[in-house]
C-alpha cells in the first residue's frame, strides 16, 4: 500500500455550549490514499461534517482539542493560519451540501469558479476566466463560455453543484471533500453528480472523501468506507467487505434498515430502535450499547477501541472482537 495522502489521527473536536461540551468528533482516525474514494457514512449528528470541516480547520466555533491531521508530512492542526489558507482550495477542496446557497448571489458564476486560481496562482482575470470556462465545460455545463457570464440564480441546482465541483477542481487539488454533495438534489441529478465525481476521481486522480448518509451512494462510489456513530468511528474497511459482513452492530443494523434487491421477499425492514445519543452526555462504554441487541456486560463499562476484526476490517466492538458473528432475527 502506498503512503497515505491524508491521515487523521485520534481527532477530537468539541463545541462549547451552555449545556456543556458537545463532543462532535470524539477520537476519529482514518486515512485516504492518493486517487482513492473514501466514504464517510453516519446518521445526522454523527460528526461526519465536523470531521471534514476540522480537516480544513473550518470547524469554528468548534475547537480541535487534540489529534493530528497529517498531510504532506505536516500536521494541519498545527500549521499557521496563513499556511492553512494556502492548503485550502489548492491542496484540499471542498464541496458543500446545498448548491443553492453555496454560491455568492452577487457574482457571475465564472468569476466564482475562477476565484481559487486567482487566489492561489495569482492569475489575472482573463487567464483565470479561461480556466474557469474550460473547467465548467469539463464538468458538463453546456456552452460554458456564455454560462460563465450567468449569475447563480440562473443555474439549476444540479448545474450549480457542477459549478461548485468545477470551482474545486480549477487548482487540481489532491483531495476533494464532498460533504453530502447530492443530498439537496433530486434523484436523477444525484446520479449525474455522482457520475461526475467518479469521472473527476478517475481523470484527475483526485482523492475524494465522500460524506453521506446514503449507503447506496457509498456502495456505488467508494472503495473504502468509514462508519461513524456519535462522533466516533465504529467500523472501517473495504466497502464490499463492510457491506457483506459488517463487523459492528451499528453497521449491521443500518444495512438491515434499508431495502435490498437480494433480500428475501416479504422480509420487513428493521429500523434501529431508540435514538442517537446526546453528544454532551454520551452513554458509558460503547455509545451504541443502549440500542445494541448484541451487547454484553462489558459494553456499558469500557469504550471499545478500533481493532482489526476479520481480514480487512476495523471495528470498535467488544462483541465482534471476541469472535462473535453478527446474526439475528
Amino acid at each position: 500500500m502506498t503512503e497515505a495522502l491524508l491521515e487523521v489521527q485520534d481527532l477530537h473536536t468539541v463545541f462549547a455550549t451552555k449545556a456543556g461540551n458537545v463532543k462532535a468528533v470524539d477520537g476519529v482516525s482514518f486515512e485516504i490514499n492518493p486517487g482513492e474514494t473514501l466514504g464517510i457514512v453516519g446518521e445526522s449528528g454523527s460528526g461526519k461534517s465536523v470531521t471534514a470541516l476540522s480537516v480544513m480547520r473550518l470547524q469554528r466555533p468548534g475547537k480541535i482539542i487534540s489529534g493530528k491531521v497529517m498531510f504532506k508530512g505536516r500536521d494541519l492542526t498545527k500549521v499557521s493560519e496563513g499556511e492553512m489558507r494556502e492548503i485550502r482550495g489548492q491542496d484540499i477542496a471542498m464541496i458543500f451540501q446545498d448548491p443553492m446557497t453555496s454560491m455568492n448571489p452577487v457574482f457571475r458564476t465564472g468569476w466564482q469558479v475562477a476565484e481559487p486560481v486567482r487566489l492561489h496562482h495569482g492569475w489575472d482575470k482573463t487567464r483565470a476566466m479561461g480556466v474557469a470556462v474550460s473547467m465548467l465545460g469539463k464538468v458538463g455545463i453546456p456552452s460554458p463560455a456564455s454560462r460563465a457570464r450567468d449569475y447563480p440564480h440562473q443555474f439549476s441546482g444540479g448545474m450549480r453543484q457542477r459549478a461548485m465541483i468545477a470551482m474545486g477542481l480549477t487548482t487540481t487539488p489532491k483531495v476533494l471533500i464532498a460533504d453530502e454533495p447530492t443530498t439537496a438534489l433530486d434523484v436523477t441529478i444525484q446520479a449525474q453528480i455522482l457520475d461526475l465525481l467518479r469521472h473527476v476521481n478517475r481523470d484527475f486522480g483526485t482523492a475524494t472523501i465522500l460524506i453521506t448518509h446514503n449507503l447506496g451512494v457509498v456502495a456505488g462510489m467508494c472503495e473504502r468506507v468509514v462508519v461513524m456513530y456519535a462522533g466516533r468511528v465504529v467500523e472501517s474497511g473495504p466497502t464490499s467487505d463492510v457491506f457483506a459482513h459488517p463487523k459492528h452492530p451499528y453497521t449491521w443494523a443500518l444495512l438491515r434498515s434499508i431495502p435490498r434487491l437480494d433480500a428475501e421477499r416479504h422480509e420487513a425492514l428493521k429500523p434501529i430502535e431508540g435514538l442517537p445519543p446526546d453528544l454532551i452526555d454520551l452513554p458509558s462504554g460503547c455509545a451504541f450499547h443502549p440500542r445494541c441487541q448484541f451487547k454484553v456486560e462489558r459494553c456499558s463499562r469500557d469504550v471499545p477501541v478500533l481493532n482489526r476484526v476479520g481480514e480487512t476490517q476495523l471495528a470498535a466492538c467488544w462483541v465482534t472482537q471476541s469472535g462473535v458473528e453478527l446474526k439475528g432475527a
Binding site: 480544513m56 473550518l58 492553512m84 489558507r85 494556502e86 492548503i87 485550502r88 482550495g89 489548492q90 477542496a93 471542498m94 458543500f96 451540501q97 446545498d98 446557497t101 453555496s102 454560491m103 455568492n104 448571489p105 452577487v106 457574482f107 457571475r108 476565484e115 481559487p116 487566489l119 492561489h120 465545460g137 469539463k138 464538468v139 458538463g140 455545463i141 453546456p142 456552452s143 456564455s146 454560462r147 457570464r149 450567468d150 449569475y151 440562473q154 439549476s156 444540479g158 448545474m159 461548485m164 470551482m167 474545486g168 436523477t188 449525474q192 457520475d195 461526475l196 469521472h199 473527476v200 481523470d203 484527475f204
Partner: protein, 308 residues
C-alpha cells in the same frame, strides 16, 4: 486531462435557456429597471440631481441668471418683494434671496452628502467587523454604539457646536458622530444573516482571507441596504442640519444655508413673508424628494418590501 462527458439529460436545457434569448439579468440590472419604472421616485431623484447640479454650478448660475453675489449688501434695496430685479426678493441687508438660496444649497446639500458619506463609511466598517468577527470586538463596539445612540442627540450637537466652531465640514462630522451608530447596527444585522449562508463557508474553503471575505463577498451583499440607508438619510440630515442652523448651532452667518436663512427671516415674518417661504419651501421639497427617492430605491432593491 480528458473531457468529461456532458450528460445528455442537461443538453436540451442548454438549447432552451442557455443559448440566451434573454440576456443575463443581474440583481443590479433588475433593480435599476424597477427603479426606472417608478415614475414618482425617478422624478424625485432627478429633482435632487438638478438641485445638486445647481448648487455645484452656483457661481455660474448667479452670474448668468440672477446677476447678484450672495454676500453683496445693497442697503438701497432691502426687503424688496419678489419681482423683476430680484426674482425671490431681498433680505434686510438687500441680499438677493435666490442667490443666497443657491449658495445655501451648496452648504446644506454639501453637509448632507458629506454626513451620509462619513456615517456610512464609519458605520459600515464597524458593522462589517462586529458582525463578521463577533466576540469581544462585537461587544465593545456595539456597546459604544448603544452609548452613542442613547445620548439625546440635540444636547450632543449643542455641546459640540460650542466646542468646535461649526463650518460645513465640522458640522458634517458632528451630525455623523451620531448617524454612524444606526448604520453600524443595520449593517451588523445584515452581516449576521449573510454570513450564515453557505457561500461564506465555501469561500473560506478555497482559502480566502478574512479581508477578502468581508470586502469582496460580504460588502456587496449588504450594499443594497446601504444604498437605501443613504438615500433615506439625506432627507433626515437636511432636516437636522436646518434645525441646527435655525438654532444658531450650525453654519454661522454670513455664510448662507437654508437653515440660517430661516433664522433671519423669523424676525421679519409679518413684514416680508417671502423670506420665510422660499427657504422653507426649498427645504420641504428637497426633503420630500429625497424621502420619495429613498422609498423608490428601497422598493427597487427589495421587491418583497414593496408597500403598494
Amino acid at each position: 486531462m480528458s473531457l468529461l462527458p456532458a450528460p445528455e439529460v442537461e443538453a436540451p436545457i442548454s438549447t432552451f435557456e442557455g443559448e440566451g434569448s434573454r440576456p443575463a439579468q443581474s440583481y443590479w440590472n433588475e433593480s435599476w429597471q424597477r427603479l426606472r419604472d417608478n415614475r414618482i421616485g425617478m422624478a424625485a431623484g432627478i429633482l435632487i440631481l438638478i438641485l445638486a447640479a445647481i448648487s455645484l454650478a452656483a457661481p455660474l448660475f448667479t452670474q448668468f441668471v440672477t446677476h447678484y453675489e450672495p454676500y453683496r449688501l445693497d442697503l438701497l434695496a432691502t426687503f424688496q418683494p419678489p419681482g423683476h430685479a430680484h426674482l425671490l426678493g431681498t433680505d434686510e441687508l438687500g441680499r438677493d434671496t435666490l442667490t443666497r438660496l443657491i449658495y445655501g444649497g451648496r452648504v446644506t446639500l454639501g453637509v448632507a452628502f458629506l454626513t451620509v458619506g462619513i456615517s456610512l463609511t464609519l458605520g459600515t466598517s464597524v458593522g462589517l467587523v462586529t458582525g463578521y468577527y463577533g466576540g469581544w470586538i462585537d461587544d465593545i463596539l456595539m456597546r459604544l454604539v448603544d452609548v452613542v445612540l442613547s445620548i439625546p442627540a440635540i444636547f450632543l450637537f449643542i455641546l459640540m457646536s460650542i466646542l468646535f466652531r461649526p463650518n460645513p465640514v465640522t458640522l458634517a462630522m458632528i451630525i455623523a458622530s451620531v448617524g454612524w451608530g444606526g448604520v453600524a447596527r443595520l449593517v451588523r444585522g445584515e452581516v449576521l444573516s449573510v454570513k450564515q449562508r453557505d457561500f461564506i463557508m465555501a469561500t473560506r474553503s478555497i482559502g480566502a482571507r478574512d479581508v477578502r471575505l468581508i470586502v469582496r463577498h460580504l460588502l456587496p451583499n449588504v450594499l443594497p441596504v446601504l444604498i437605501v440607508a443613504a438615500s433615506l438619510g439625506v432627507g433626515q440630515i437636511i432636516l437636522i442640519e436646518a434645525a441646527l442652523d435655525f438654532l444658531g448651532l450650525g453654519i454661522q452667518p454670513p455664510t448662507a444655508s437654508w437653515g440660517n436663512m430661516l433664522t433671519n427671516a423669523e424676525s421679519y415674518f409679518f413684514h416680508s413673508t417671502w423670506l420665510v417661504y422660499f427657504p422653507g419651501i426649498t427645504i420641504f421639497i428637497t426633503v420630500l424628494a429625497s424621502n420619495l427617492f429613498g422609498n423608490a430605491i428601497r422598493d427597487a432593491f427589495d421587491p418583497r418590501l414593496k408597500t403598494h
